[in-house]
């Protein structure tokens, strides 16, 4: 009995581990997006990458005009915070004469030609003077093998404690910060505020328009008899499988003809007629019992009245499902806007287009680009949290019956 419990516990634990692992894979890019969007530009270029936005800590020291950055430096076996007060100090790389793999980097002014005036013949045949070099307070006789540049770090408590070392490989002291102003900045770039409005407007039109036409068409297919109905329905069904790219060129030419290129109208009106939506609504309306409708007809109700007082209320979940479907499609579409809306017309951009522009214009600022991405990605997430059921159902409804 005990072993059964144990094995069950282990199975569940394994299941959770796997699920959590995949959940992390799914979530990580979004977490990365949000945290990076709060960073400073040079923080985004840091390697190894840091998830949380961080900034170097600076300190004001007496006798220095500007605040100086702090670094974690090891001196005398103890690691503590030092301030970088000077960088780019010319220095030499000095090696021991008998073992040239042991080297020290020391500022040039701390090395003098040895009083003995001795010379040393390097393995490659060149001749170098032996130098007296100050290392940890002792003078050591070494030979110069190269040049470099060092930074001077001092202990903020005790200025006389100083360390010379390469700045690039030193470890700066950082603190976690956040720069939400990246968002306000990116909203003013590329007219993003306007493109957000446009996206909302276009999505609203497309969702409402598609609901209206699909409900009416679905009702006609589900409940009304008219000549040619079955053939038309088969035709509708057949077109669901046709990929969108087939239409892009003729539709573009059609828009040119209508004078809709570069206009929001091109993003709306071709998309409010959906064979798929009609099909979905028809499938739903077919399940509504006929008796209520017949009773209403006998009472003399018109078809419109029946549709909105009987069918629509019953269809609320189906409508919500279809609305989420359409919403995602309209909000996220990129290819068609790319083709039809011109880059120059800032007034009519939608978010995806603006992101594409931002990618070019702020290519060196990951923080801004990802703030832009967050602006386009987070609203659907918000809706998703509110109406998760409909999102999942919209996916399932497309799948269960094929």
């Amino acid at each position: 009995m005990k072993s059964f419990k144990l094995s069950r516990f282990l199975t569940n634990l394994g299941a959770y581990l796997i699920l959590t692992f995949f959940a992390l894979i799914m979530l990580f890019p979004f977490i990365f997006m949000v945290t990076t969007s709060l960073k400073t530009p040079d923080d985004t270029f840091n390697y190894p990458p840091r998830l949380l936005p961080r900034e170097g800590v600076e300190i004001s020291l007496e006798g220095f005009e500007k605040p100086v950055p702090l670094y974690l430096i090891e001196k005398d076996g103890v690691q503590s915070e030092f301030a970088l007060v000077e960088s780019g100090i010319p220095a030499g790389i000095y090696a021991e004469t008998d073992n040239q793999s042991i080297t020290y980097s020391v500022p040039l002014d701390q090395a003098k030609p040895s009083e003995s005036g001795e010379q040393f013949v390097m393995p490659d045949g060149t001749v170098q003077p032996i130098m007296d070099v100050l290392i940890n307070g002792n003078i050591v006789q070494l030979v110069q093998v190269g040049k470099t540049a060092l930074g001077r770090f001092i202990d903020p408590e005790d200025f006389s404690r100083e360390v010379f070392q390469v700045v690039r490989t030193s470890q700066p002291v950082t603190k976690v910060t956040a720069h939400p102003e990246n968002y306000t900045r990116v909203m003013t770039m590329e007219n993003m505020g306007r493109s957000l409005t446009n996206t909302i407007l276009v999505t609203l039109f497309v969702v409402i328009g598609q609901l209206v036409t699909s409900v009416m068409g679905g009702y006609a297919f589900a409940r009304l008899r008219f000549p040619g109905k079955d053939k038309l329905f088969v035709f509708y069904l057949g077109t669901i499988m046709i990929p969108f790219v087939m239409l892009i060129i003729p539709l573009y030419q059609l828009m040119v003809l209508f004078g809709w290129t570069d206009k929001l109208a091109a993003l709306i009106f071709p998309w409010i007629f959906s064979a798929y939506g009609t099909f979905l609504m028809r499938q739903f309306f077919i399940t509504v019992p006929k008796e209520i409708e017949e009773a209403a007809l006998i009472d003399g109700a018109s078809r419109f009245k029946i549709l909105y007082s009987i069918f629509l209320p019953a269809a609320a979940p189906a409508l919500a499902t279809m609305a989420t479907f359409t919403f995602l499609y309209a909000w996220n579409s990129f290819f068609w806007p790319l083709v039809i809306i011109n880059t120059g017309n800032y007034e009519n951009h939608v978010l995806t287009l603006t992101l594409n522009m931002l990618r070019g214009r702020a290519s060196d600022s990951a923080n801004l680009i990802l703030a832009g991405a967050a602006i386009s990605i987070l609203p659907p997430f918000l809706l998703y949290i509110l109406g998760q059921r409909f999102f999942i159902e919209s996916a399932m409804s497309s799948g269960v019956k094929g």
Binding site: P41, D42, T44, F45, N46, Y47, S87, G88, P90, I93, G146, K147, T148, A149, V166, V167, R168, T188, M189, F205, I208, G209, V212, V256, G259, T261, D262, K263, Y308, S309, L312, P313, A316, N342, T343, G344, N345, Y346, E347, N356, M357, R359, G360, R361, A362, S363, D364, S365, A366
Partner: protein, 455 residues
């Protein structure tokens, strides 16, 4: 029941929105500046015969530039009587600015005056999309094409029908630009390498010296690079030019990429990437590692300066390109303001093109630092030199000084540049990635590339 009400409401919303939609068109026409919308109002409404509205467009690289162009537009608007200017910033480099412009011209929604890159002038001109302003220019007092750099003007006055230069005028250059090496001075000092700026002053800044610096920096670690450049025709073109080669033959009617000189240039560049591995791998964007302080010499144009100023937190400066067998081989990049062939106001558009390229306007834009004036005027140069850092601005001017024989970026009148580029780019990228040997490249490149001349 509430649902019913909401259905009714939403139907009303749809209708009302459509209805209310037209209104602001009127409002906008009344309000000046900024918004680009007014032209879409039907022509029949409220004719104002005296005032001409001109739309113009450039492709700025950042918000600061957009602001400068907007203010330029406002100034010129005030200076031009009877003309209202509407400035609209174009797309960025990655969003196919030119292609979209072409479709706009096709659809009749393009602006009156717009900027296009130098390589695209031929395509626009031979498709009949832009206006030949030669006759208007001849009738204009005080206009001289000789005030501008001769390289761009050679292409801008080329007449494809007579195959002669000086017999047309397709536009005037907005500005010019050129390559330099952006230096991470901290990294170079740490590597103990010589300062390239000093070497350049002494005239010792050669390919060998360059390679030496790159190797020394590379020795600091595997995540540090001596050299970085981005993957497009500009950077590899420089090495080819510098070795004495060229993309085309002398009269630009056939491929010239397989000449010994061109091959020598590419061989050296391949050495940086494949044999010595001192460069950021080809195709990888060099900008992030440079900003992260991991690249010593980053080859880029003047347009990269604002970004470096904003993001680099190390000591940096610029230096001119190292000299090869045939000098620096730098590019003279340029783009031109051209006039839409379908414009209704050609005279005003021509006037605007001139106003946009005066020394004063150019000085103003040059003071922003992104580009170099296209007019060889001291006034504009001085404005350019005041923009520091980088301290060594002169490196850019040296790059395009006549003495250094820069190659002007140019359109391809005899073939299709986009096709040529789309054949050349992938093949060169294979060479620089080590997937294709120089020998195989030399054998096939021109067989393929010449197809771009056959249409």
């Amino acid at each position: 029941m509430s649902r019913k009400m909401f259905l009714v409401l939403s139907v009303i919303i749809v209708f009302a929105m459509v209805m209310s939609a037209c209104a602001p068109v009127v409002v906008e026409t009344a309000a000046p500046v900024e918004t680009a919308a007014p032209t879409e109002a039907p022509a029949t409404m409220e004719p104002e015969p005296m005032d001409v509205t001109l739309r113009w467009r450039t492709r700025p690289d950042n918000q600061a530039e957009i602001d400068v162009y907007s203010s330029v537009s406002a100034d010129l608007d005030a200076a031009m009587d009877g003309v209202t200017l509407v400035y609209e910033p174009g797309g960025s480099e990655t969003s196919s600015y030119q292609d979209v412009l072409k479709t706009e011209i096709g659809a009749g929604t393009a602006p009156d005056v717009f900027w296009i890159p130098g390589t695209d002038v031929a395509d626009f001109a031979t498709r009949g999309l832009i206006l030949d302003m030669k006759s208007m220019a001849d009738a204009t007092d005080g206009f001289s094409a000789g005030d501008f750099y001769p390289g761009p003007m050679y292409h801008l006055t080329f007449n494809p029908e007579t195959n002669m230069t000086g017999e047309a005028l397709w536009g005037l250059p907005r500005d010019v630009s050129t390559f330099a090496l952006y230096l991470n001075l901290d990294l170079i000092a740490e590597a103990g390498a010589d300062d390239p700026r000093e070497l350049a002053k002494e005239g010792k800044w050669t390919w060998e010296a360059f390679l030496d610096v790159a190797k020394k920096v590379q020795a600091l670690g595997s995540d540090v690079y001596g050299y970085g450049a981005n993957a497009w025709w500009g950077p590899y073109g420089v090495w080819i030019n510098s070795a004495g080669g060229n993309f085309y033959n002398a009269d630009r009617t056939a491929c010239g990429l397989d000449t010994p000189e061109a091959i020598a240039g590419l061989t050296f560049e391949r050495q940086l990437y494949v044999e010595d591995k001192v460069a950021v791998p080809y195709g990888e964007d060099s900008e992030p590692p440079f900003m992260a302080g991991k690249v010593a010499m980053f080859q880029n144009g003047r347009w990269a300066t604002p970004g470096v100023r904003a993001n680099a937190n190390f000591n940096w400066d610029v230096v001119e390109l190292p000299t090869g067998a045939s000098g620096q081989g730098n590019w003279l990049f340029w783009g031109a303001y051209v006039v839409n062939a379908k414009t209704e106001h050609p005279e005003e558009a021509w006037k605007l093109v001139q106003m946009l390229t005066t020394a004063e306007t150019q000085g103003k834009i040059a003071a922003l630092g992104a580009n170099i004036p296209s007019r060889m005027s001291q006034e504009a140069f001085d404005a350019f030199l005041t923009f520091t850092p980088p301290a060594n601005n002169q490196a850019f001017l040296n790059g395009i000084a006549d003495a250094n024989k820069p190659t002007a970026e140019g359109p391809l009148w005899a073939g299709s540049w986009p096709n040529y580029d789309s054949i050349m780019g992938p093949m060169v990228s294979k060479v620089l990635n080590g997937e294709l040997t120089i020998e195989d490249y030399q054998k096939t490149i021109c067989v393929e590339a010449n197809k771009a001349f056959e249409q």
